[in-house]
């Protein structure tokens, strides 16, 4: 059993009680909600005659269903309008802070909370969204929950949970030029598998991780869940503290000094005991692209799609399904695969640094006439910053559509969808069958730089040749 890791320290601090049956009651320091997974939870509170116990520990925004072309109200889609309306009413009735469209701070919940300084080291954070693992980048313990658990957090600010094991993923050396956090995490998921993380928290460590910016660290932790791990985290350091400092919800003055001291004490000890440890060589990672229907089915840009016999017995069934669905032949190259749609955005890669690198590649070039390409900033703040830097103009001049913030085509709950069997190059996190809104649509996951390169050339290429 793990000892003296950040996970152990944060877990122990937040434990309220042992529950009958053997699970633990864990206090949730920050609860984030959005329009999709909260209405039924508020409904259940009402049915049970319960109140929100600590309204100031829940923060709301709207992201999944918002249109990205025209955000004026009422939304054209009646169901979407009903969902945002329900969230507005619930927040008002329960005195929950809501960052609505036009507030200047609306956006994808996992982009918004860090940029407001709400996300801090040492917290427990829960949200009815599996990519809540993103917040672990700050050294918090953050995980996705379902709607019944959203109800429990609203009612009690706690959850019934079993303690996770801790696996350290030590990333030695550093990423080479033109290779990004997205490539590293896709590589890790490929090596360990999409179910290896079940029952574990992932601690990402080593020089390759320490060298990453906060936004890149969020990309890594965001995709922990794609490797089966409900939460992933990185020990906080000066990069973390510098990111948090000065943000609107960050500790101020004397409190900042208190916070720094406490945060430093949370870091995993040198002699910490892990339930498992694995090592990855970051210098060997290439720009990585998925070819299948799980985020684990990826290869380096110069590799070939694996043949059935190259895969373990456990991976063969889903590989067979993937060849058929994607229309790829075993042994085929991924390089030069034609692309129909390019999407840059999402809680994985919709932050300002993602837009900067994509703009660098798109500058003074034109989107291939065969491609529909669009940029969806992760939040109103990201959009504002990008406009200040003129990135929106670079994109528009190159032929990208510049959209309003939201989850958009990562899960296609709004009007942004693939049609037919279109192939998409996407900076998002899931390439599941039908994920981007068409039951036969095909998704290739890659870094935002690689998506920008695909937009310009109309096919999957090695972005290192364009930088």
């Amino acid at each position: 059993m793990s000892q003296n890791t950040l996970f152990d320290k944060v877990w122990d601090l937040h434990k309220v009680a042992d529950l009958p049956g053997g699970s633990s009651q864990i206090f949730i320091g920050l609860h984030l909600i959005h329009e999709v997974t909260s209405p039924q939870a508020f409904g259940a509170l009402k049915d049970k005659n319960l109140i929100v116990k600590f309204p100031s520990r829940t923060v709301a925004t709207v992201d999944h269903i918002v249109p990205t072309d025209n955000q004026s109200r009422p939304f054209k889609d009646n169901l979407a309008e009903q969902m945002i309306d329900t969230l507005e009413k619930n927040c008002q009735a329960h005195k929950i802070k809501f960052f609505n469209i036009g507030s200047g701070s609306q956006g994808i919940v996992h982009v918004v909370a860090p940029e407001l300084g709400l996300t801090q080291p040492g917290m427990t954070i829960a949200c009815g969204d599996s990519h809540t693992s993103t917040h672990g980048a700050f050294g918090s313990i953050a995980f996705g929950i379902g709607t019944s658990q959203v109800r429990d957090v609203l009612a009690s600010q706690t959850l019934a949970m079993n303690k996770l094991k801790v696996r350290r993923i030590y990333c030695k050396n550093i990423l080479s030029e033109g290779v990004f956090a997205k490539d590293l995490v896709l590589h890790i998921i490929n090596k360990l598998g999409v179910k290896a993380g079940v029952g574990y928290a992932y601690e990402f460590a080593g020089p390759a991780v320490s060298a990453l910016s906060m936004e890149e660290r969020m990309t890594i932790c965001n995709m922990s869940i794609e490797g089966g791990a409900r939460c992933g985290y990185i020990n906080p350091d000066d990069i973390t503290y510098n990111y948090v400092k000065g943000r609107i919800c960050a500790p101020k003055k004397d409190n900042w000094d208190k916070a720094l001291k406490w945060w430093g004490s949370l870091v995993s000890e040198i002699d910490a005991i892990y339930d498992d440890e694995v090592e990855v060589d970051a210098s060997k990672v290439e720009p990585t692209v998925t070819w299948g229907i799980t985020p684990g089915q990826s290869i380096g840009i110069n590799q070939r799609i694996p043949k059935l016999e190259d895969l373990s017995l456990d991976d063969q069934f889903i590989a067979g399904e993937a060849y058929e669905y994607m229309g790829f032949k075993p042994g085929q190259k991924i390089m030069n695969t034609p692309i129909d749609v390019c999407f840059i955005g999402s809680c994985t890669n919709g932050r300002i640094s993602d837009l900067r690198i994509a703009a660098k590649i798109a500058k003074n070039k034109k989107v291939s006439p065969k491609v529909k390409a669009f940029i969806v900033p992760g939040s109103e703040k990201v959009a504002k910053e990008a406009k200040n830097e003129g990135l929106d103009l670079i994109f528009k001049e190159a032929g990208f559509q510049w959209r309003e913030p939201g989850c958009s085509m990562c899960l296609a709950m709004n009007p942004d969808k693939l049609t037919g069997d279109q192939v998409s190059a996407s900076s998002s996190n899931r390439n599941f069958k039908g994920r981007q809104g068409s039951p036969s649509g095909r998704t290739l996951l890659m870094s935002p730089a690689m998506v920008a390169a695909a937009a310009i050339t109309g096919k999957v290429v090695d972005v290192r040749n364009l930088i």
Binding site: F27, T86, I225, G228, P251, D314
Partner: protein
């Protein structure tokens, strides 16, 4: 399903019903209930849309459309079932279609805890055993009686040992799987915990 549907309540000790075999690893929650059906403010109408796209694709031959599986309530799955999104809409859709228990090789973590929270026991067994009962259920109607305390499933011909987390087993047997009231029993402890947390203190009035 439909008007007669009632959510489970209280102690869950035995579940009996016909099995439905669904073959495949890594079946994600987008497949169980595609995102477009998440545009709702309650779960009531999800049962009809379970596996919507997979079923359309298979044109009547999907396990959820076969005559053999009509009225089935015990789902037999393979590994990493329910991976992906945290949407509780996935187990809610299965439950509203008629599923009361799941037996499989393994489950994604959030899916498992969602099932626990709404009263669907998820049992595990090794690949070989799952494959055998799936084969059986594909050929003929396989009716199981599951005894949660004994951790066994019985049919006329078969007796299958099942595995379940001890904490989950206790929660079903005691009725404590519906956690809210259990959590609220510790209200005083919760209130003292919030005062122990350094960040609650140093972040006061920041928002």
């Amino acid at each position: 399903m439909g008007d007669n549907f009632k959510t489970p309540q209280g102690k869950i000790t035995r579940i009996s019903g016909n099995c439905i075999a669904l073959i495949g690893d890594d079946i994600d929650t987008d497949r169980i209930i595609p995102a477009r059906f998440l545009k709702c403010v309650n779960f009531d109408s999800l049962g009809n849309s379970v596996f919507e796209d997979d079923r359309k694709d298979l044109n009547g031959t999907h396990p959820f459309d076969l005559e053999l599986n009509k009225g089935a309530s015990i789902l037999l799955v393979n590994s990493n079932f329910g991976c992906g999104s945290s949407r509780e809409h996935a187990p809610q859709a299965l439950m509203r279609w008629g599923i009361k228990a799941i037996i499989g090789e393994s489950y994604a973590e959030i899916f498992y805890s969602n099932c626990l929270a709404i009263g669907i026991p998820c049992f595990t067994q090794e690949k070989r055993v799952i494959k055998k009962i799936q084969e059986e259920a594909k050929k003929n109607i396989l009716s199981f009686e599951i005894d949660i305390a004994e951790k066994k499933a019985f049919s006329n011909k078969l007796e299958v040992d099942l595995l379940i987390k001890e904490s989950s087993k206790k929660m079903f047997l005691s009725g404590n799987w519906d956690a809210t009231s259990i959590l609220l029993n510790n209200s005083l402890l919760i209130e003292s915990k919030i005062n122990e947390l350094p960040y609650v203190n140093f972040n006061a009035n920041n928002l």
